[in-house]
């Protein structure tokens, strides 16, 4: 009789695993062009997957990412993140404004990261020519960029959480930022704001905290890897 009992147990566990399995959350990295979305996505992959793997190429020309790219099955391990993120020693940086800190972030979280094209309300091919692109190339890039914006918007339907990246050296109170936040609030999708580029002298993450006090704001430098462990902790807490 014993083998029969064990068989039932295995079957029950398989059925429970099948019906109670949790899908891997898809986390979209959103933000305006040139906020550092691809740099952040690459940083996450370098930390938790492979130092030599890139999700896309980062560039100072806006709309470098013109297709959404998904990287599946990233295991965010907070211990690993803490080891690989250099200690930022944020002497002058404010403490991240995070709600619900009593709830501790657990050690590991598996997720899919979606690097999205920058959201914008206008795309003028002349802007690309200012970066030295020929007219035809600039027009082609502008056309692809408009398709990229539409793609980023469509992806919102499939996203389980958003890291909204803002350039901490810029005015955060743009309509694009307000629209993304408003949409996420209406959908009930969890959102973390990452105030990027805090390694730059004119960065002011507190402006972002003041503009959007209802959401957690984490000051980071995706390029230098500063304060990334705080972002990973918040991701593990919010997107679990």
């Amino acid at each position: 009789m014993k083998p029969k009992k064990r068989g039932k147990g295995i079957l029950l566990r398989l059925l429970m695993a099948f019906f109670l399995r949790r899908k891997t959350p898809k986390i979209g990295i959103y933000g305006p062009p040139n906020a550092g979305k691809t740099t952040l996505a690459n940083r996450i992959i370098h930390t938790f997957v492979d130092e030599n793997e890139d999700i896309g190429a980062a560039s100072n020309i806006p709309h470098e990412t013109r297709r959404a790219v998904r990287r599946s099955g990233i295991m965010v391990d907070l211990k690993l993140g803490a080891v690989q993120s250099p200690d930022p020693n944020h002497g002058s940086d404010p403490e991240p404004k995070v709600k619900g800190r009593k709830e501790r972030a657990k050690g590991k979280l598996k997720l899919d990261v979606v690097d999205t094209p920058g959201l914008a309300t206008k795309i003028d091919f002349h802007d690309f020519m200012a970066y030295g692109l020929e007219e035809e190339e600039a027009k082609r890039r502008a056309k692809e960029a408009t398709e990229g914006v539409i793609e980023a918007i469509k992806w919102l339907d499939d996203i389980d959480g958003v890291v909204l990246l803002m350039d901490a050296t810029e005015d955060p109170y743009t309509q694009t930022n307000v629209i993304i936040i408003g949409n996420m609030e209406a959908r009930g999708t969890p959102i973390i704001i990452a105030a990027n580029k805090v390694d730059l002298a004119d960065a002011a993450p507190e402006r972002i905290m003041n503009a959007f006090p209802q959401h957690p704001v984490i000051p980071i430098s995706a390029l230098k890897g500063e304060n990334m462990e705080k972002l990973y902790e918040e991701m593990a807490r919010r997107f679990r």
């Binding site: 309300t121 206008k122 027009k139 502008a142 408009t146 539409i150 918007i153 309509q175 209406a186």
Partner: protein, 110 residues
Amino acid sequence: MEIKMDLVSEDKINSMGSMEKLRFVLDGVKSGNIVVLEGGLTSEEQMKLIELTMTEVNEDFPGIEMNGYPTKRGFLNLRRKTRLTVIGPAKMMRTIKKENDLISAIISAI
């Protein structure tokens, strides 16, 4: 050159369907008008307006500039109240300052 502004009442906006509203706004902006909506658009409608705009961007029409006040939460946070939204052609409209209760914009003829 003259610049035309359409100040649209909340009643007129509310009488339109969602797509009709966006078409009305975008047609006005593509004609070179500054469209001011009393009551404004929800963030979902604004996102759809960006999507619609992107399908129509070309060499002569690079897109829109849009600004407005964030929605206000109503009783028990159950009802969201939209407020004023201003939309104009990107070639003509430039926001110079935006705060919770003040939007300053420069509008110049093309």
